[in-house]
Symmetry: C2
Subunit: 419 residues, 2 copies
């Protein structure tokens, strides 16, 4: 599944300056072939601040790509929380911790349904756990995902990630619904997948979707999702909202992508921006959904929910609230989307998205990759996405401000003018 | 699989003081049923230093259990490295990083074979990746583990962890060899598992063992392991050394548990003490073993090998080397083992282990659980382990010193005298 992408082509290493070429070669020798570097000319950063990354020469790059440092690179409040807690204690969930319980309660208060939290370290682990829980709760095994879904990298989760392993590489109990990247309405696509599972004698356990459909190109308000969820539930399956991409306010309205639909998920998973880059993730499940798994199975994630992770996650949530970053995502993201539309370039086919998650459909893949690399050369970071690599993915830290928007628009206009 | 253990029984919550009972109840409501608390009377700590944990009243507990904070709770050099790097930059492996490459090179220099590193966040993720790599490299699917193995919590890895899911819960392609906890020699046990796989038409992909067999009760120098590895290789499978428990010097001689055998593993996984509690883990594989996976698959672990993780792991390795903690584990662990043998209590059946990983076999499960809880009441932390919960697991931070040994021996003697 490694096609033409925005990744560096290692056969071109000789084109790089001597120091960079040496580091790339050492990296290839030490880290092996499954790793990728961004861009035709790779970058190395040494410092970050708000939505800006700086290289060793102090050159300022505008970060319109990285969603993990959501409250800003090296956010001082999060850094202080990590440093203070690490200096006191970092221990696990088999001892009591007031802070861990308090953070879990705070997280649950953002959910529309009753729930219980389980902490993991990565979104992959959270999704992997969600499938274990859903299978135990339903007695079913079948899992339905979107056509170009990406949910993570464990064996189980790679098997439900067609964007990573291809349709042929999917697990035998998994089905990719033909949406939302086709003309098939999503509810129909999921209904067809349910019929496929039924024909194969596989009982459905869950429909799991990234509620902004990031790897499908970005669809924050997908028609038919509510109906698809209802059909899966009628067939005995659960609905898992994968909030790793849209969660924690990225879409500029509410904390979670599913809240745009008025859906109450059975299970919610979250990760990336949860602690601004510290390795923290979690799963929330309705108590009755979690009960069968909890009755039969113990679960201990050594680092999951440890003292420093909780301190980092709590501080990140503090900043998100105190600096009203969800509202900022809505306002600044709206300005950015309007500005891109205002460029009125016929090679821009559509500007989709919500808040600070924007997908900009361009005319073809080669052009998209050229734009991404030309922007990199003009010190603006973003990426290509979608099944055909024809969508610019714009997904900056939520502290993106008006000056950042202006700079992105200026550089994008310049790239379009010279392409 | 949740039998009588050293975990807290939530039906006894009313016995606790009001504040603790309230926190336990809130915790149960927020975190759900799959979580466990240690001890008949749970503990909450607020500070740690070297091999000591302190509660809110400043009471000092001797930590003879936690192997994760290997270079000492809240080690100041590791804390400083985390704080400094977090304040500068925390980013991922798709940008170049001199520090990440340098740490990988340093790790590879500890291996007896050529290798390439892939970073994950947890030992579970590292083992999950190792199986993906082994299956891609061999074209086989069968995995052999020890009789009471524990390798982690993803769906794939739970399926090779009989101590977690029971023999009945294992994956259909996995087999538990009847050793080392039975009288069957390990090489014979693995040979029998190979025959079982062959009879089922399953090609072997790997034998994976925790090289100190921690969940089996602790066997650092197991007879027959070398022969078992040779037999698996002859059948087309690989050998994966799971170093999550013994790795980074715990056994007091060399960095890795496998080095006691003169074996060159095909794949090595590591985690827990790697960054003293910061969520970092890794897999090292021979380049030819990794090549098929790397050719067909990209792998991106969002937090894996990020800037702060690498800073934490590098500082931990610095302290391990500068303070000669492997040598300390050998000397202090030897004193501790001798001291326990010197207690000459007939209810102590055997003292096994190496360095600061000791398994003390006691006469039966009830007695073992009583000893663990009585030690907790005397401010010494350890746990019960092994298939029948009849082994005291002693596994302190590697900074354990002579005074810590004396205190543990004094308290253990007192508990034995009054039991």
């Amino acid at each position: 599944m490694v096609g033409p992408t925005t990744y560096f082509d290692e056969s071109t290493v000789d084109r790089l300056d001597a120091r960079t070429a040496d580091l790339v070669r050492r990296r290839a020798a030490a880290l092996g072939p499954a790793y990728r570097l961004f861009y035709r000319e790779p970058l190395e950063f040494v410092r970050g601040e708000r939505a800006h990354l700086f290289d060793a020469d102090g050159v300022d790059y505008l970060d319109a790509y990285n969603n993990v440092p959501s409250v800003g690179h090296a956010n001082p409040r999060v850094v202080a929380a990590i440093a203070e807690q690490a200096a006191r204690l970092n221990t696990h969930t088999r001892y009591l911790s007031e802070a861990t319980v308090a953070y879990a309660e705070r997280l649950l208060a953002t959910m529309p349904m009753p729930g219980e939290v389980m902490f993991t370290c990565t979104g992959s682990e959270a999704n992997d756990l969600a499938l274990r829980v859903a299978k135990a709760a339903t007695g079913g095994e079948g899992v339905i995902v979107s056509w170009n879904a990406y949910h993570g990298i464990t064996t189980e989760i790679a098997g439900i990630s067609p964007s990573l392993v291809g349709l042929d590489g999917m697990a035998p109990w998994a089905r990719a619904a033909r949406g939302p990247v086709t003309d098939v309405p999503f509810a129909e696509a999921v209904a067809a997948s349910l019929r496929e599972l039924d024909a194969a004698g596989i009982r459905p356990a869950a429909l799991i979707v990234d509620t902004v459909f990031a790897s499908d190109g970005g669809f924050p308000d997908l028609e038919g999702l509510v109906e698809a969820v209802a059909a899966v539930r009628a067939a005995g399956g659960l609905f898992i909202a994968d909030e790793v991409q849209p969660g924690f306010g990225r879409l500029g309205h509410g904390m979670w992508g599913f809240s745009r639909y008025g859906i109450e998920p059975d299970i919610v998973t979250m990760g990336k921006p949860m602690a601004n880059g510290h390795p923290v993730a979690a799963m929330v499940a309705r108590p009755d959904v979690l009960a069968p798994f909890g009755r039969d199975m113990r679960y201990f994630n050594t680092y999951g929910g440890n003292s420093v992770s909780i301190a980092a996650a709590s501080a990140t949530l503090d900043v998100l609230e105190d600096e009203q970053l969800i509202e900022n995502a809505r306002i600044v993201g709206g300005r950015l989307a309007d500005g891109i539309r205002g460029l009125s370039d016929e090679r821009i086919l559509a500007v989709r998205g919500a808040g600070l998650f924007l997908g900009v459909d361009l005319v073809d893949e080669a052009f998209t990759l050229d734009v991404v690399n030309a922007l990199r050369d003009r010190r603006v970071l973003l990426a290509a996405s979608g099944p055909g690599n024809t969508t610019l993915k714009i997904r900056p830290p939520l502290v993106f401000d008006d000056a950042d928007v202006d700079r992105l628009l200026t550089e994008l206009a310049a790239v379009l003018a010279s392409s």
